[in-house]
Structures are given as C-alpha cells and as structure tokens.
C-alpha cells in the first residue's frame, strides 16, 4: 500500500507527467500528453489501478479543447486517480482504450453520442443513447437546449392565449 506522496513520487519517476495535483485525501489527478495516455494507463493498470470507474468528458469551449478524464481506483492503495488529457476541439478524435478495459468501448460510445469525439480503433461508434440525431452533439457547450426546442417543436397553444 502506497500513500499519496509515495504514489506521486513513483509517478513522477516513471511517467512523463504534465502536472500532478493532490486534490484532497485519497484523491489525485494527473495530466498526460495525448500520445502517452494509453501507455500511461497501461502502466497504471499494471500497478494495481485496475478499476476503471468511468470516462468523463468536459467541453472547454473557450480554450477550444475537450478534456477526457479516466477515473481509476486502486483497491490496494485506496486512492482514486483521475488521469486527464486535452484534445483539440476541432479535430475531436482520440484513440480507444478498449484493449485495456473492454468496458471502455461503451463509455467511448457514450462520449461519441454526446460530444462527437471519434475514438480510433473502436469499431462500433453507432448511436447508443440518442437516435437519429443530426444536430451538433447535445452536451457540447454551443448546443443551446432552448434554441433547439424552439426550432424543432411548435409551442402548444392554450385557450385564451394570443
């Protein structure tokens, strides 16, 4: 079992980290280059970080970037580790990690639905939750719910309404 500081030391030694932050007790977040993310996750998986909780995506529209966050957990260290990387918003393409965790396939499909990021290597990028969606992906910050509703649907007229 490693403490937070021991883990940070180990990661600084073995991985090429862009940044590392101790968020709070039992919570650490690190940032990796795009090219080093898969090898970094592979390294972490072989160092007891076997639990992939989920993959999150955040749209940083002002920086023109998407941020992908892989939430890992180690039952030995009892530390929750968020591995982050930023990708270009225009290109919106990244590599799959389905060979490390098969379950990531579906998390990636979910992100593809809602943010429009394509994952190279993931052969099934069909719509998962949405159906026949031809607007911009709905979780992007430039998708405005109200405007979409006004455009797509007619407002119902009630009695006595002008």
């Amino acid at each position: 079992m490693r403490s937070e500081n021991e883990l940070i030391e180990l990661l600084n030694r073995d991985l090429n980290l862009l940044s590392v932050k101790k968020l709070r007790k039992q919570n650490i977040s690190i940032r990796l280059e795009n090219e080093e993310l898969v090898s970094g996750l592979n390294y972490l998986k072989s160092h007891s970080y076997i639990h992939l909780a989920t993959i999150s995506c955040v749209d940083w529209i002002e920086d023109n970037q998407f941020e992908l966050i892989y939430h890992l957990f180690s039952y030995e260290d009892k530390i929750s580790l968020s591995v982050k990387t930023k990708i270009n918003r225009q290109k919106s393409r990244f590599v799959t990690i389905k060979n490390l965790w098969g379950v990531a396939k579906y998390y990636e499909r979910d992100i593809h639905d809602f943010f429009g990021i394509k994952f190279t290597g993931n052969d099934n990028m069909d719509e998962l939750i949405l159906e026949n969606w031809n607007e911009i992906p709905p979780m992007r910050k430039d998708f405005k719910t109200r405007q979409y509703v006004d455009k797509k649907y007619d407002w119902r007229q009630y009695h006595g309404q002008e």
Partner: protein, 369 residues
C-alpha cells in the same frame, strides 16, 4: 439433437422481466442466448445538460430523480462533490443524520430488490411483501422529509432540517420489527425455499476476474469473495464512527448476491442503532448564504459512495460560477447494463435473463441519465 435455428428476440422495454425502460436485443438457439446487445435510450432525459443550466441548489431536487431506487444516494453524492470542491466541512450531527438516511435507503433498496428478484422467478408473494415492507420505511421517510420516494433532504452544507427524538425512536421500533418479525418471514419464504434456491444457485454467475475488469462493485463483486466497500475504502458521512462488517460470498451467483443483500440489511440495522444511540447534539446544516447565490471556487471532484448496488460516482467541475460547469454521473450498473450484456449474458438460458438483470441490479435510468 439437431441444429437449432437462430432467432432474434427483443427483450423489453415492454416486458415484465425487464428492470425499467430498457431493452436487450438477443439471439438465441434452442433456449440459450448466443449473443446479446443492450438497447438503452428509451428514457433519456438529459439530466447532465439540465444541471449545467441550473444554480447549485436547484439541482438537489433534480438529482434524486436519476434513479428511483437510490434517491438519497444521488443527493448525497451531489452534496458531497459540492462540499469537496468548496472544502466545506459539515457539522457532526448532519453527518450522523446523513448516514442514518443512507442506511435506511439501503435497507429499502435491498428489500425492494429482493422482492424484485422473487418477481423474476415467479415468487409473487415475496414481491408483494417486499413492496409492503419497503412502505414502512417510506413512512419514516415521509415523517422526516415530507416525501415518500424523493426526499430532497440531503443538501449542500448538511441536511434540510433536524430529526426529532420521537422519530429516532420510531426508527428503532421499525428496525426491531424488521429484525424480529419481517426478516424471519422473508427467511422462511425466500431463503429456505428449495424452489427458489434451485432457481438461483449457479444462475447468472459472475466470476471475480470479469467483475474486476468490468469495474463491477457492490454485492455483485463481494459475492465473488472480495471485501470491497466504499464505506470502508473511503469513509464518508459518519461511517468511520461505526463498527460493521462487510459480508462476502464465494460463488458469485444470483443466490449468493441475494444472501449478501439479506446480510447487509442486518449490518445496516446494526449501523443505524449505533448512530441513533450516539448521535451528537448541534446544528444540522451550515449557513452558506443566499441559496440561489451559492458559489464555490473553480475546481473538480470525482466523489463516490456505496449505493445498495455498488459505487455511485459523480464527476463535478466548477468554474467558480453560480452553476456547475459539468456534472457526469457514473451509475452503479453502467458497466453491467451495457458491456456486461454483451459479454456475460451469452450462455444464459432465456428464462434466466430476468434473473440475470435483476440480481445484478441493472437500473437503466443510471446510464440513460
């Protein structure tokens, strides 16, 4: 036996064996599933998008609706992520009350789930008993919070209001009734029932390797022999103040998972008794100022807690504004309900598909959020 014909079957969303608005499209040969694919999206409500457009406090009544079975869990994770980013420390009494509420919620979810599992094998008496017994706990919730299913009680900074001593006594009485009258009846009807045992044993087996690689948590993981519980791994609320055991099993089948749920009910009863007897006096919430103007610094948090079926996590990002910048919900059954259907369901017999879905605690609203 000759070669069987491969046939496609749409299992759900309009099927009594499906746990919620959700479908599984599978192919079967003879009576065995040979390939399966999940079909979610029937109840997508865009919660995550909605949450980005509401002030922090306005999301409390929203998050509890993400999963009917776990309203308090959702409120708790949301409040905890707010407090984690804002570095807010809640009063001790509030932490105790939160734990009491969460354990009551765990008991009602387990009872409901045991009832649901009995429904899946046609033991309808137990299903009705499950609904009835859960209702007694909902009565307590109604007395504490005013709501039966959705409570909107745990909020950033503490809980909405205090619990009276009379109500605490009522909780203890209810637990006594549960332990001495109701659970022995469940024991006789369900757990000593040879037909139910035959149906559940060696059905829907999930081995340890698959469970770990999928990221399965909760009773489904503990039924494979691992003692992983977020309440022990990363204690929150008042769980570091109480003494309890984490029951485990060996076989990883539906029967083991149900037995664990039953054992966990007794552990929850033990936890609530300790909490009620040692509850400290004091305030139950912090004054964080105007509720519509809550502000926390820019930051992020991935917070997780133990729901009745395993890890429930929220990833929340704040940009320092009045509203969350991004909220991502990680429902407990997401790995099983999506990837698990594809990899673990093949090999299951047709009549065991509802048992598979119910005993692994698939809750579609969590991944359709």
């Amino acid at each position: 036996m000759g070669k069987s014909k491969r046939t496609e079957m749409f299992f759900g969303p309009n099927h009594p064996g499906v746990p919620g608005n959700y479908g599984i499209n599978y192919f079967y040969e003879g009576d065995t599933v040979v390939s399966a694919e999940p079909n979610p999206g029937h109840l997508h409500r865009g919660f995550e998008k909605l949450m980005e457009e509401r002030e922090w406090i306005k999301n409390t009544p929203l998050v509890c609706r993400i999963c009917v079975m776990e309203p308090d869990i959702n409120e708790m994770v949301y409040a905890m992520s707010f407090e984690a980013i804002g570095e807010i420390k809640i009063p001790k009494r509030a932490a105790y009350i939160r734990s009491i509420i969460l354990e009551l919620a765990r008991i009602q979810a387990h009872i409901f789930s045991i009832g649901g599992n009995c429904g899946a094998i046609g033991l309808y008496t137990a299903m009705q008993w499950g609904v009835l017994t859960r209702d007694y706990i909902l009565d307590i919730f109604e007395e504490i919070t005013g709501g039966r299913v959705y409570h909107i009680y745990i909020r950033p900074g503490g809980v909405r209001h205090d619990i009276e001593d009379v109500t605490l006594q009522k909780i203890l009485d209810l637990l006594n009734d549960l332990e001495n009258n109701r659970m022995p009846e469940f024991q006789k009807l369900i757990f000593e029932n040879p037909i139910a045992q035959k149906r559940w044993k060696n059905t829907a087996v999930l081995n340890q390797e698959d469970a770990l690689s999928l990221g399965v948590t909760g009773p489904a993981l503990r039924a494979t022999g691992l003692e992983h519980d977020v309440r022990k791994l990363m204690p929150y609320a008042a769980y570091d103040q109480v003494d309890f055991k984490v029951p485990t099993g060996e076989d990883g089948d539906a029967w083991t998972r149900l037995k664990l749920k039953k054992d966990e009910i007794f552990q929850s009863i033990k936890i609530i008794r300790q909490l009620v007897n040692n509850i400290p006096a004091g305030p139950v919430s912090l004054n964080l100022g105007n509720a519509l103007k809550y502000k926390i610094p820019a930051g992020e948090a991935y917070v997780k807690i133990e729901s009745s079926r395993g890890e429930y996590g929220y990833y929340v990002v704040s940009d320092g504004g009045l509203k969350p910048y991004r909220v991502h919900v990680r429902g407990t059954s997401t790995p099983l309900g999506l990837y698990g259907v594809e990899t673990l369901l093949p090999g299951c017999r047709i009549e065991d598909v509802p048992v598979w879905a119910h005993s692994l605690g698939i809750c579609p609203p969590e991944f359709d959020r």
